[in-house]
């Protein structure tokens, strides 16, 4: 059940040039959060009024871990937040990834979209599963998850400065023949990447779950602003709310041409 609270900053550290890790004490949210869900952070800013959504990258007892990238003035502001400060948050929000216990679980994170994949990976490992994790980015200046036990990590960069040269979906397609069927893909990243994953899923008949992103205001279905075009089960055009109906959708539900 979602909850509003004054979270306390436990840690806020720089990971790479633009990536930061934020640890927030928020016991009720931490207790309830599942991989794929997100929180809203309130900024108390009278000019830029919207809260901002962040995927949960992990749970550490009473704490939430976020991985955020500086993309605008609000995330820039966050880098100045100090340990002990309080910031109001709302969560956990949205639906979550549906876990498959058989076959191979493949996680695909692009750019800062890797954040929810880190949470999902820990979760799968804790259930005794051994996920394959594909992490892709433009170049080696971006953030890549650390290697951990019981999970294989595949890194790619567009410019080849780290790992496989090419995009993360090309990398996955190169490796996919080696994986035990059935394969389940879970992903979060740029729209183009997720569209390519949808095609890959169709080609190899693989179930793909995508975490969608869009401009969002309230985060809980009040404003109905975070709409995206989707398809119903019968293939009819539909509109879904990322905050409430998502952020996780089956790939076949998403209308990328809308």
């Amino acid at each position: 059940m979602k909850n509003i609270c004054e979270s306390i900053i436990i840690e806020n550290t720089q990971l790479t040039k633009d990536y930061w890790k934020l640890k927030l004490e928020a016991p009720t949210i931490a207790k309830n959060a599942k991989p794929g869900q997100f929180i809203e952070i309130y900024f108390n800013n009278s000019v830029k009024i919207f809260p901002r959504p962040f995927s949960i990258a992990g749970i550490d007892e009473n704490n939430l871990v976020l991985i955020y990238k500086i993309v605008g003035s609000q995330t820039k502001k966050m880098t100045s937040w100090k340990t002990g400060e309080q910031h109001r948050i709302l969560g956990p929000l949205g639906n979550f990834f549906q876990i498959n216990n058989i076959g191979t679980n493949v996680l695909v994170g692009g750019g800062v979209g890797t954040a929810p994949m880190i949470f999902l990976r820990s979760h799968l490992i804790s259930k005794g599963l051994e996920p394959k994790y594909f992490s892709g980015a433009r170049n080696d200046l971006e953030y890549f998850p650390e290697e951990v036990k019981n999970s294989q990590l595949f890194i790619s960069t567009d410019d080849g400065s780290k790992g496989f040269k090419g995009n993360v979906v090309q990398h996955l397609e190169k490796e996919i023949q080696n994986f035990k069927q059935p394969i389940n893909i879970y992903s979060c990243g740029p729209k183009k990447m997720m569209e390519a994953l949808k095609k890959l899923g169709q080609k190899y008949k693989i179930k793909v779950q995508l975490s969608m992103e869009t401009l969002m205001a309230c985060g809980m279905g009040l404003c109905q602003g975070c709409a995206i075009k989707t398809y119903s089960k019968n293939g009819e055009d539909k509109i879904s709310l990322v905050c409430k109906d998502g952020p996780i959708f089956k790939a076949e539900e998403i209308n990328f041409h809308g």
């Binding site: 979602k2 509003i4 000019v47 919207f50 809980m220 404003c223 109905q224 602003g225 075009k229 509109i239």
Partner: protein
């Protein structure tokens, strides 16, 4: 002890003047697990139409300085599903329930009104004649005084319940619209709905919302709303429910002084869902500080 109760006409008494603005609070029950929704004097539901509406295609919202533009297009689940799914929650709700009605033609308004008039937990109606985001009907109902009068006059015969009309600021003279509402025998006016607004992405050259022009709301529009309330308070005797960018208790007092009997909180729900709690605390402390026994006594008391 400070008395926060207010009457909007003889038909409806609220425990305090704070209500929710349609379209910013879902159907009324969504936030019930996050905040204490019983704190409100009343809940105004999302706009209801007879049949479900899918709403406008994305993008539907954009953040603008101290505000936002929306173009949701009155997406809603329709009357039947609303009654089926929400009755249980509202039957147990402490405050007053006002249903916002949005139709495309006269008949749609009347049909919904007739059906809801019989529902016990519905305490009143807010008629949406002013949505800027619906092509058919919407705009003309809200901008042409005679056209609006013809639409709302028959409503008085369809219900004895509280009947309020929500007015658009996108008119030459909002007071003239309010006079028509009074003439039609309605109990109150609520104002203001959103202002016309648009925003363009300078890199793609594309409008930032699908319908190009949408409705501007949030703190940015508060001064426009205050000006319209002042003007309307002078023109009509029926109560005014003030809407437009209310964020704090101070804002509420300003609306009351301008002439509002009650207010609706809107966009603030998106960035401070618990605003109602903070506002009520301020109202009590303000009344104590200013030695006001009954908050309702300050309506229209701005020294103008």
């Amino acid at each position: 002890m400070v008395d926060l109760t207010i009457k909007i006409s003889d038909k409806i008494e609220l425990q305090n003047p704070i209500m929710t603005a349609s379209g910013t609070f879902g159907y009324g029950d969504e936030l019930s697990t996050v905040i204490n929704t019983n704190l409100y004097g009343g809940i105004v539901s999302k706009s209801l139409s007879l049949e479900p509406r899918i709403g406008n295609p994305p993008p539907r919202i954009v953040e603008t300085p101290s505000g936002m533009i929306n173009s949701i297009g009155l997406a809603n689940i329709g009357l039947s599903r609303f009654l089926d799914e929400k009755a249980k929650y509202f039957q147990n709700y402490n405050g007053k329930i006002i249903i916002n009605i949005a139709g495309k033609q006269d008949d749609e308004f009347y049909t919904i009104l007739k059906k809801l008039d019989k529902i016990e937990w519905v305490h009143g109606f807010e008629i949406n004649v002013s949505c800027p985001n619906v092509k058919e009907g919407g705009i003309q109902f809200g901008t042409d005084p005679e056209f609006m009068f013809k639409l709302i006059q028959p409503m008085r015969d369809l219900t004895d319940k509280f009947l309020m009309v929500k007015l658009s600021p996108n008119v030459t003279d909002i007071a003239q619209m309010a006079e028509k509402v009074q003439l039609a025998g309605c109990d109150a006016v609520s104002m203001i709905n959103t202002l016309y607004g648009a925003a363009i992405d300078i890199y793609s050259g594309k409008p930032k919302i699908n319908t190009v022009v949408g409705g501007l709301s949030g703190p940015a529009i508060k001064p426009v709303a205050i000006a319209n309330v002042i003007k309307t308070y002078k023109a009509v005797d029926i109560p005014i429910v003030g809407i437009g960018g209310i964020t704090t208790g101070e804002d509420v007092i300003e609306f009351l002084l301008a002439g509002a009997s009650a207010v609706e909180l809107g966009t603030v729900h998106f960035f401070n869902p618990n605003a109602v709690d903070e506002i009520l605390q301020f109202l009590v402390s303000y009344c104590k500080k200013m030695n006001i026994k009954r908050l309702r006594d300050i309506t229209g008391k701005a020294k103008i």
